[in-house]
């Protein structure tokens, strides 16, 4: 058991003042204290990518790092991606290409890719695969994820990509 400590976290633009055990991993604060259930726990050992969220815009695994270490940082979860009730380009493309099966990995994958697009406007195929190297999709939706990413890149580079199903 560890001591309860005061902790101030900024998540999706809102500031939360919390009192939590000092060794509480970030994901449990987000899921259990704040009831933001979009971030998923898959392994608890930073091995599956389900718990990926953004810290200062960069992908971060939340299952094994203490919440108190994130004070002063901007945390974004999947619930924080929509702006003015509009999906992000990635979310739109995921819908179009059915880039989710059971959906358990989806928020982690979207957050990893959002981080990638924050870093590079036009990522290469190698960048994309590398950005997903820690995100397990056991349903095997990678092909349609890559199609969705291609679509986003094409929009960003103002090109048209054919949706083979249209």
């Amino acid at each position: 058991m560890s001591n309860e400590v005061k902790c101030k976290l900024k998540i999706n633009g809102l500031v939360y003042n919390l009192s939590i055990p000092s060794d509480t991993p970030l994901i449990f604060v987000i899921r259990n204290n704040l009831n933001l259930k979009g971030t998923k726990l898959g392994c608890g050992l930073e091995q599956c990518g389900s718990c990926t969220l953004l810290v200062d815009g960069k992908k971060t695994l939340s299952c094994n790092q203490n919440a108190i270490d994130f004070e002063g940082k901007e945390i974004t979860t999947i619930e924080g991606l929509e702006v003015n009730n509009k999906y992000s380009l990635l979310q739109e493309a995921f819908i179009e290409f059915n880039s989710a099966q059971c959906g358990y990995c989806s928020s982690g994958i979207i957050m990893s890719l959002t981080s990638l697009f924050n870093e590079k406007n036009i990522p290469t195929e190698n960048d994309i695969v590398k950005s997903l190297e820690n995100n397990l999709c056991r349903c095997g939706s990678h092909h349609s994820v890559l199609k969705a990413v291609e679509k986003v890149i094409s929009i960003l580079s103002n090109e048209k990509v054919e949706n083979q199903y249209e």
Partner: protein, 797 residues
């Protein structure tokens, strides 16, 4: 580009009519909520007064529990209670995992928690109930158990030896089940064969690794005597029935809710002791109890699969015609047969399915299933198929190479011809509506084998080992009552659907099929809208709630579309007829002159129609305007099961091209092709995603996945860092195309598509690798085909 005309099925109406949705790759709106983090998974649920749980589990594969002391642990902060087997058994009756129609199966009674002896590492011993999971885990550390280790029985190959430890004394030995299938005269046919080839293949244990681990919230409401279960399972009505039976609750007072499920793959269709213990704890405490497995628990207690050693022999005549096939399969299933499906079915599928694409007049198959002190083994995606397909297709390749035939030619002359169905597998199981010739021809065309052969030759000149593999296979889908029900298992082969018109003209559909990411929601809506004549946006669907959906089997054995979809189709047609009847009365016209399209009843001659909204308003709110005695039914319920045959089989042909690195042993799958014949495709995009996902799990089994045990029965790699599964960087380009032969067993004509990839990929990858190694006259016979095995095979280590 998907060719919509490929999906034309005359029984369903023209594809040019309005609201023609069957056969189209519509966007799956069920996936949208996941993309905004809105999925509803078991661990997301919080109920008033809910408590959490964690299990003390056996650290040993085989050990006697001399005593357990929970008094210190009970005093830990947040602990509410701790239950042992003796407590849990007061509310939960034991079960036995046997079926009666496949010969004698012997498996002892099981209870939720181990009593005196723990028989696998991870078996649950005690359940700790606490306010939080962390508190429950802390208290586990304080439970004192006096263990006496016993010698474990690990190796399946020595399980039946005289001096081997017997896991269940009362059974006398470690045999669970054995079955022999024999057709024709195998001995005589081998004598008459001009060439005989043999192979022995090993398949390691692996497991499902669902990204969402198993989970349950059990909520016993004393005041109503009602048990509500929130479960990430595949078969809510089956669980409802089993919970009612074992907890002595009236079935109507058990409600099972299975909403979003984060991957299932057959892992979540079985009865697990820990989940039953959580239900028992809720019944004892009278408050909601949550159990969600952690990843370690997942690796050591989710069912494992495969674990087979199979030997096979194929005899052919001088023209390459198959005369005789014999297989002998050994499988280890852990210490108990799972309930209610039993752990015999994987072996049974191997016996039934080996050789199934071909005419093989003489066939003998022997299966032996033994107990081990390892995690229980049971049905996982493509049950038995990887073994049956690999032994068949490896032998076929060997025969071809031995008699100097092309691997495609030997297949073509031995296929059951497409125009000779109904037919039977060599084991005698009925087959119909298959297309091995057409799928293989299409596969060879899109693979462009001559070009691949040219490239292989050029690569070899450069010292690069490239190989090409092809296979054909049958996939068991849509089981009938002749699968489980006939053996006494209370597993419904029927599914139901209900459909109603609501006051606003909206349509509500409910189905007993569940969703684990396959796209059930999308296809049920497509079928309902298509057959009723309404737009997709009018349909709302309820799944996964035994209080709100018709009774049925749920989602397993690739049965959702073929069985559950047919029930939706039938219900939609009945509702349509009901609507047209009342509309004809309101519109004062003959029923034959009207139809439904675009959310309205229309006059075929183009006159003024009536919208479904107006019709529903009239029926529900202004019934007095309708002629007396009409009393319309704007609701219809239908059910469906397959009759007359055990399964509706699907078939596929697959190919792949691999490169084997001689220095590292690493295998790269350059390209993978699948031609699938699953009958009517309701949504081709979803079919293709099922095929691709299946192939990827098949790649896992073929190249990476293995539950590694030491000789004491300790699992050595129970983390995601150590247990390898295919990731994004391992994905080859998977090309999927189709041949369509509708099933004659239903109007819809759909078969299943969920498991072919997993069933076929291991065989085609093995054939491709062995083709690559053939220039060195080497082969691999053991899966997963790791770099180490490659290097050993080619003599590098």
């Amino acid at each position: 580009m998907v060719d919509i005309t490929l999906n034309q099925n005359s029984k369903l109406g023209s594809i040019d009519r309005p609201n023609s949705y069957i056969g189209r790759s519509l966007t799956r709106d069920g996936a949208i909520r996941h993309l905004e983090g809105g999925g509803k998974f078991v661990d997301d649920l919080i109920l008033p007064r809910m408590v959490n749980s964690a299990f003390l589990r056996s650290p040993y594969a085989h050990a006697e529990i001399k005593s357990i002391n929970i008094s210190d642990a009970q005093k830990y902060p947040g602990v509410i209670d701790i239950f042992l087997s003796e407590h849990i058994d007061t509310v939960c009756k034991p079960w036995i995992g046997v079926l009666s129609h496949l010969g004698e199966m012997r498996s002892p009674e099981q209870s939720p928690l181990a009593k005196k002896i723990a028989r696998w590492q991870g078996e649950a011993i005690a359940i700790v109930i606490a306010n939080t999971r962390a508190q429950a885990e802390d208290a586990i550390e304080a439970i004192e158990v006096d263990w006496v280790e016993k010698e474990p029985q690990i190796n399946m190959e020595t399980a039946l030896d005289k001096d081997t430890v017997v896991i269940h004394k009362e059974l006398g030995n470690n045999l669970f089940w054995t079955r022999t299938v024999e057709q024709g005269d195998v001995k005589k046919a081998f004598k008459e064969s001009s060439t005989i080839v043999e192979a022995t293949l090993d398949f390691a244990r692996h497991t499902g690794v669902t990204l969402e681990t198993r989970g349950i919230v059990a909520d016993w409401d004393k005041s109503e005597k009602k048990m509500s279960i929130y479960h990430n399972g595949q078969a809510p009505h089956m669980m409802q029935h089993i919970i009612a039976k074992h907890f002595d609750i009236s079935e109507g007072l058990v409600r099972v809710i299975s909403k979003d499920v984060g991957g299932s793959f057959g892992i979540k269709v079985h009865v697990y002791g820990d989940e039953m213990a959580a239900i028992a704890a809720s019944k004892i405490l009278g408050r909601p109890v949550k159990f969600v497995a952690d990843r370690l628990e997942s690796f050591t207690t989710d069912i494992h699969a495969r674990c087979h050693k199979i030997s096979g022999k194929l005899g052919v005549d001088k023209n390459g015609k198959f005369l005789s096939m014999e297989i002998n399969d050994l499988s280890g299933i852990g210490p108990y047969s799972m309930y209610p499906r039993t752990s015999a079915i994987e072996t049974n599928q191997v016996l039934n399915l080996s050789g199934s694409p071909y005419i093989i007049p003489n066939y003998k198959a022997v299966g032996t299933v033994v107990f081990q002190n390892k995690t229980p083994m049971c049905q996982y995606r493509a049950v038995g198929h990887p073994i049956a397909v690999a032994i068949t297709e490896v032998l076929v390749d060997k025969a071809a190479k031995k008699i100097g035939m092309k691997v495609e030619d030997i297949r073509k002359i031995n296929f059951i011809p497409d125009d000779q169905y109904p037919n039977k597998t060599p084991s005698g199981v009925p087959l119909e509506d298959l297309s091995h010739q057409a799928t293989m021809n299409k596969l060879l065309k899109i693979m462009n084998v001559p070009d691949l052969e040219k490239q292989k030759k050029l690569d070899l000149e450069k010292g690069i080992l490239t190989g090409i593999g092809i296979i054909s296979m049958c996939e068991v889908t849509n089981p009938s009552p002749l699968f489980y029900g006939v053996g006494g298992a209370h597993i419904s082969s029927q599914d139901g659907a209900s459909i109603r018109l609501e006051g606003s003209g909206a349509v509500h559909v409910s189905s007993s099929i569940t969703e684990q990411g396959q796209g059930t929601e999308a296809i049920m809506k497509q079928i309902a809208a298509d057959q009723l004549g309404v737009s997709m946006d009018t349909i709302r669907l309820t799944l996964g709630d035994t209080d709100a959906t018709p009774y049925g089997g749920g989602t397993w054995a690739s049965r959702g579309a073929g069985i559950g979809g047919e029930a939706v189709l039938k219900a939609a047609r009945t509702l349509k007829n009901n609507i047209l009847k009342i509309a004809s009365a309101i519109m004062q016209t003959d029923i034959d002159t009207i139809d439904i399209a675009n959310n309205s009843v229309i006059r075929k001659n183009g006159g003024e129609g009536i919208s479904l909204k107006k019709l529903a308003e009239t029926v529900y709110y202004r019934g007095h305007e309708i002629p007396q005695g009409t009393n319309p039914e704007l609701i219809a319920t239908s059910s469906f099961y397959i009759e007359g045959i055990p399964f509706v089989f699907t078939n596929s042909a697959m190919g792949c091209q691999v490169t084997v690195d001689q220095d590292t042993g690493l295998i790269k799958i350059n390209k993978f092709w699948v031609i699938e014949d699953c009958g009517t495709q309701i949504n081709p995009k979803l079919v293709e995603e099922q095929i691709r996902g299946g192939v990827i799990q098949g790649i896992g089994g073929a190249l990476y996945e293995e539950c590694v045990y030491d000789d004491q029965g300790n699992m050595q790699n129970a983390t995601m860092a150590d247990y390898l599964v295919p990731m994004a960087c391992e994905m080859p380009d998977i090309i999927v195309d189709h041949v369509i032969t509708n099933s004659g067993r239903s109007i819809l004509g759909a078969k299943g598509a969920g498991e072919a990839g997993t069933g076929g990929a291991p065989a085609v990858i093995m054939n491709a690798i062995n083709d690559a190694l053939s220039s060195m006259n080497k082969e691999v016979t053991s899966q997963p085909i790791t770099p180490e095995k490659i290097l050993k095979a080619i003599g590098k280590i």
